[in-house]
Amino acid sequence: MKQKGFGFYFRIYLKILAQDLKSKMSYRADFIISTIGMICTNIAGFISFWILFRRFPSINGWGYYEILFLYGFSLVSLTPVQCFFDNNWSLRQYVYSGDFIKYCFRPINLFFYFQSEVFDVKGLGQLAFGLGTLIFAWVKLGLGCSVLMILKMIVFLLTASLIMISLQNAAAATCFWIQNSFYVMDFVNRFRDYAKYPVTIFNKGFRFIFTFIMPIAFIAYYPSLVILRPDAVPLLSWISPLIGILFFFLSYKFWMFGALKYSGTGS
């Protein structure tokens, strides 16, 4: 048996993805309606944000376009979790019904196999919207453009994505222990909204929680400081890619620990 490396998993993922897209196209109405729904949600979010900032042009030293930058940043970094890890939302149903056991019989990584089954196309609409916002804010802020800047941007977007993925993995994995993990996932999802604001607007207690316990400050705030405030980048920003990797690893371990402990319902 050949070693199953990155290439092996990548090929399988592409194959499943291609098949999945093909079958999704066959539900055309569903695809169009969910895309429209996604655009409406984002526009509504954007409008409430815009109204808020017409009254308070700056929050705690953060200007309109800077906040817009954070907003776009968090949307873009949300794309991977939306596209690739959406099956987490169904995990509790699989566990509850006992169907989760079917993932245990294949000679590939359990976590990979489970997540590979769903690719959510809606995430791409969000990506387009987020990128638009981000570029608009970028131009308005006159941040300039250099290879280094773009490289930094990519690294920190990936960091933010990793944190989002970790939070969702951990929240979804709670269903291996508790019956209704929907509330946990929903709770984490709501907290994620706070990622769109600079963490300095919160008081000390919340700042600590958002940095070290539920690390949503790493989703947009700390990474984007590198781009927005290059003169005074705190240490936490620089180490945020490491923190992203660490959190992802921990959430993966937690997920797998739950999955292996899982024994299925009798049949």
């Binding site: 399988i12 079958s23 000679p107 024994s263 049949s267």
Partner: protein, 333 residues
Amino acid sequence: MEPIIEIKNVVKEFKVLNRHEGLKGSIRDLFSRDYKIVRAVDNISMQIGQGEIVGYLGPNGAGKSTTIKMMTGVLEPTSGEILVGGNVPYRNRTKNAQEIGVVFGQRSQLWWALPLIESFKILKDIYQIPDADYDAMLNFYQSLVDIEPLLHKPVRQMSLGQRTLSDILAAFLHNPKIVFLDEPTIGLDVSMKAKIRTLIHALNEQKHTTVILTTHDMGDVDALCRRIVIIDKGKMLYDNDISHLKQFFGSYRTLKIRIKGDLKQYAEEITGKLPECSVSADDEWVSILVDESKSTVMHVLDKLQKDYKIRDMQLEEISTEEVIKKIYEEGVK
């Protein structure tokens, strides 16, 4: 014969919370540390050779699924040893998965939205099946059943029978050493059952695949298994050839007849006439359990027809549950 599966003194215990009744009880359960230990599998040992088809029987909740989950590496035994193809399943789950195929009852493992052929292609990659082997297997399948109409149909549009057939084909695709089939014919019509039995039989014969089959259908057992293992309440009751078991159920059949009048009274009369049979009556039928090693059903029917006007009749084979009950009560001779 070199054993492919070795199970030695395997025990599996589950920790279950002692639940209390009512709302008060539920609140108490939230904080309770009052656990009891349930033994789902109690000291089971067996060896299974390459190419055997073993019928694994027992009533619901006997511990069959738990044993299979341990052999497939999903569960870790509390104590004892399991070796499947030289692997400890729980410790080398992925390596073990490469060597086995599993069909778990009505839970399809195929990709719901995909046509079967696309699922096969993904499985080909997952199990790293060489092109030549893959093509040979598909041709072999084609010679056994008409798979052409299945291949391009999405699994979600299939009937239960087609889905089960597809699941079985998928489980054998990578030519595993062992295939576990958990109630493969449940809910299927007679012709589909026959089709599936023929398929399993041919695959076992040609590929020498070891098959572990759990079922409640004695027809499956009759058609496929030479050896039978029976467990109940986690304990092993029987492990021997099917021919040996025949003396428990092969020779017993139940004859049911309908006669106009008071059935209870007839039952008593018939008991007097047929002392070797046990007779009972319900609202519709008089049931006569005939031991065919002593007297034949035809003989009994003949005798009864002389005295009564029989309006309707049924003949029932003894069920697995009854066999197990018999073994439980009388022990293995």
